[in-house]
Assembly symmetry: C2
Homo-oligomer: 332 residues x 2
């Protein structure tokens, strides 16, 4: 993943030189609008010594959803596309899948049957592709997939479909003493394979959904084995619970894009002192996608209402972002 490493490095270098010379404007891919203004004002108020809203660095915790907030989530969550590719790859070892749903639908490319499979079917796909191996083996499988798989619309590696303005925001917050976390409904061990290279977020700052795992000694070698059973779903009301468990501090800033992030934002906003909440609203069907309350992936309805009621920042992607993806700057 040299390419991503390069992206992260460039962003870091850019952010670093901006803070050193004090001349370059922060968040260069953000248009000068209310969202950018609100971010800069908040960061200034909590990080300036002597400010009545000053927050010590140790408490500058910022949590980010991943799907639809840091990278795209269309046509469906990328992790589901990983599961689908993996089913195709494993099919020769599973002749029974030819007649068993939802595997049959995947192998025949039957989108309608796959859509009909719903949550129960998707869980079957995930368990068949995410469990039954050691943690090291799973990580290698994800790594291999990220190196070869291409997004159907953009024909690019999935990890290039990250949002340039959000990469800049992560760097800007870290430059101001923030500790940045991912808090995602996606799989924690899936995310950790690329979060450090792509976002500069180390494994211990990645929180996500998990399946059960067990320690055992196989032929004298200690391993952790992944089992096909849900351990925790890090979505909706699960997000503040996971934040409390993993971090043990309440964030002072939270970033999301769907109703699945609402409780994380509520929990963040309800803390004492100055807090910041932001929603990314997908309004750009040309450069990315346009969707909200009627989308089956990343549905945004109640959270948007509450954002307006509570004065949370809302990014209008079309209006607020000069660039969506890093590759727009250097077309092939």
């Amino acid at each position: 993943m040299n390419l991503n490493l390069r992206i992260a490095t460039l962003v870091t270098l850019a952010a670093g030189s901006a803070s050193q010379c004090g001349a370059a404007e922060p968040l260069p891919s953000w248009n000068d609008g209310p969202a950018r203004t609100a971010i800069v004002r908040f960061v200034h108020r909590v990080s300036s010594k002597g400010s009545p809203d000053y927050v010590p660095p140790a408490e500058r915790i910022a949590t980010f959803d991943n799907d639809g907030c840091l990278w795209s989530e269309k046509p469906v969550y990328f992790q589901l596309l990983f599961a689908i590719d993996r089913v195709k790859q494993l099919a020769p070892q599973h002749p029974e899948w030819k007649s068993e749903q939802p595997f049959k639908a995947v192998l025949e490319g039957d989108q309608q049957a796959l859509a009909d499979a719903r949550m129960e079917g998707l869980a079957k796909l995930v368990m068949a592709t995410h469990a039954g191996m050691t943690t090291d083996e799973f990580a290698q499988t994800v790594k291999d997939w990220l190196e070869t798989a291409r997004h159907p619309r953009f024909d690019r590696p999935y990890q290039e479909l990250v949002f340039q303005p959000m990469l800049e925001l992560l760097g800007y917050l870290r430059d101001h003493g923030f500790k940045t976390y991912i808090v995602s409904g996606g799989g924690i061990e899936f995310l950790r394979v690329f979060a450090e290279d792509v976002y500069g977020i180390p494994p211990e700052q990645v929180i996500g959904s998990s399946i059960k795992a067990e320690f055992e000694i196989r032929k004298g070698v200690p391993v952790i084995v992944r089992w096909p059973a849900i351990d925790f779903i890090d979505d909706k009301a699960g997000k503040p619970v996971a934040i409390n468990k993993f971090i043990g501090r309440r964030p002072i800033a939270a970033f999301g894009n769907s109703d699945g992030d609402l409780q994380m934002l509520q929990w963040t906003a309800a803390g004492k002192g100055l807090r910041f909440c932001l929603l990314v609203h997908h309004t750009d069907g040309d450069r990315e996608w346009a969707y909200d309350r009627d989308s089956h992936v990343g549905r945004l309805d109640e959270a948007l209402k509450q954002a307006h009621q509570n004065g949370w920042a809302v990014v209008d992607m079309k209006r607020d972002w000069k660039t969506v993806y890093p590759f727009e700057k250097s077309p092939r």
Copy 2:
């Protein structure tokens, strides 16, 4: 907890000045023996640029058990003494406890009946005292207890029964770029109340056992409520699983004192490259306690055998530690 803050500050200052002037010997409360030598040699080898065993700072993860490793665990785990004190405090609101075990045993000070209650009874005590309130309320209860409770043998606050040599070791590792974690069978939210003040370990680096928790909005206020059901037991084979989940990297050094730490040490030792494992053997009945394979608390048997087989460091508390508790240096 100003006192503990002072302890942590002094240790940090001492470690800081030692590393700055390069003159003072590290780990001053450790006698010059094989355990101290092994620690210093390991830290030098993994943190010196150009060393064949060099490890980048981000991967310098060190995990510590708490009970019996960072502080004492006799006559029983301090968290159980908290539960017992809490039962006494809550008794007026629970007249039924006068006739219900194990509450009756606690209220009558009946040690034998309490011992007979075993795990099921202890779980009842923990649930009655650790659940049914918000996370904020629980943390406040623990804080209040730590400020007033006294250890039966030493008549000191429990958080003064920490091991001075281990405080120095934590500081020494951090001075060499390590990230120090607690990985304890004790309650994660109990530990987090004092870990930062006492050990300099922030909440997000504390891993422990947990009960279920749920997010809800009570009278318009988002809260996280603790429920009387086990979520995860962070002991034995649970320790590597929790390390994998919370940290997502394998430690390069692990510190424990009982069979409950064996799997954490095995998982650590089995990683690639240079690794370090250490057991604290409680051999000092005068200054602390002397116990191992026959103890009902902190039993050390199989792990000690494996330490000898695998060449893990073993601290002989009586021989290796000049000082056990910080207060020995400044008696009242």
